[in-house]
Symmetry: D2
Subunit: 138 residues, 4 copies
Amino acid sequence: MYHEIQIRPRFSETDANGHINNTVPAVWFEEGRATLVREIAGVRPSIIIARFAIDFVREMTFGHPVTIRTGIARFGEKSFAQRQESWQRGQLCARAETVECGWDSVNKRTVRISDEIRNALAPYMFEDQPVEPAMNVT
Amino acid sequence: MYHEIQIRPRFSETDANGHINNTVPAVWFEEGRATLVREIAGVRPSIIIARFAIDFVREMTFGHPVTIRTGIARFGEKSFAQRQESWQRGQLCARAETVECGWDSVNKRTVRISDEIRNALAPYMFEDQPVEPAMNVT
Amino acid sequence: MYHEIQIRPRFSETDANGHINNTVPAVWFEEGRATLVREIAGVRPSIIIARFAIDFVREMTFGHPVTIRTGIARFGEKSFAQRQESWQRGQLCARAETVECGWDSVNKRTVRISDEIRNALAPYMFEDQPVEPAMNVT
Amino acid sequence: MYHEIQIRPRFSETDANGHINNTVPAVWFEEGRATLVREIAGVRPSIIIARFAIDFVREMTFGHPVTIRTGIARFGEKSFAQRQESWQRGQLCARAETVECGWDSVNKRTVRISDEIRNALAPYMFEDQPVEPAMNVT
């Protein structure tokens, strides 16, 4: 299962190549993750981002809404990963995975993801086909 | 070998957590890649970004310069990968790898990386230790 | 009369002061102007921005939607001005005025605003009270 | 007198019109103001921005450094104004004025600019010709 939000690209998010700059989808994905965790699952875990990876499949452009799908890819002991997709005009345009770690901000170290967080996020496993390389490049 | 540029973080690049927002280093890394390829190696390949992955090691803050190191990770047939590091106050803060594909913008398809591009970039292999996971998370 | 759009602030738009960075509302206002002119009035004038001024009345924060109101402030011979307001949680937070000039992109010079553009935008005069200084500062 | 900083435009700061997006110079001007006040004058006043106005004179592009000139336009009782210019390739491209108010963050109200702040900033009066409208538009 995944949660969807709608994004309205801003003109300032385009670049001189005429499309959405490659650094911008990360901003939209951040909104998708925050919405799933805080508003939909309703929890406010203390987390830090350990890793973010994005595959670009098709360019995105200004003037058409973008749908961001967000779900959980997997749980670790001290982390969980969110999997996301970006769609525009009916086509998959980007895929991303973000690894987030539980964080003890007082002692500045990673900590276990609590059962409360796990249980709240568990219903949102993104169970679709696995993420594959964006392009067949060798 | 790697090429270094200096970045001066902008206050608008911080977020309400008090540090540099996680989506910002991608903007700095884009500057590092463009500088290495266009200004240092002196070539202007027609390329598209297929994949970008970033490991966050330490938070970065406003008020201190950031050094971006950029080199080549490897060459493929139709692609090459750039490896990058972000340093602030003498500490490694983020690592990134970007896969870029040769692009035929007329026929809209990936193409081979030309020998001219390969030869120009070959001296800049980032020969350090391999990129490892940012944190020991399971 | 004015046209309203809803903006969902992005976390990356906050800064280390804990609120929306002062450079961000300009991005939202750009969306409001483009929507009024292109989607609501349905015209696509060739224009350039000559001047943008913004008064900050109250800080804006992440986590609450923002309403952008956009209307026409006045018409000149070669320009028109759009007047805008930003509202969050029922309170006026910022006011802006943008002067846009008709632009001949071939000859690179300002030109008259056509009657077609004038007529399309005329119904959207922002007829409220005039824009006053944001704060009583001397 | 004015203080100068050099800005290296980022590719993500361009837009689909092929030049620097109109919302971007505000980010650069913010860097110029912070540098003048905090690093050059060496004070850290508690201030909020009451007003920002920018005149666009010429477009700016990626690939060439930008010089930001920053000085003091005038002092008020509870505020001061900074005047700024943006130059690229030897040409004036934008002018801005920012009004900043002394701020009591505990009582959430504007306060007098202290003599210490006044004295530290006084040497940096931007004494050039006054700011005039960017274009002769009526």
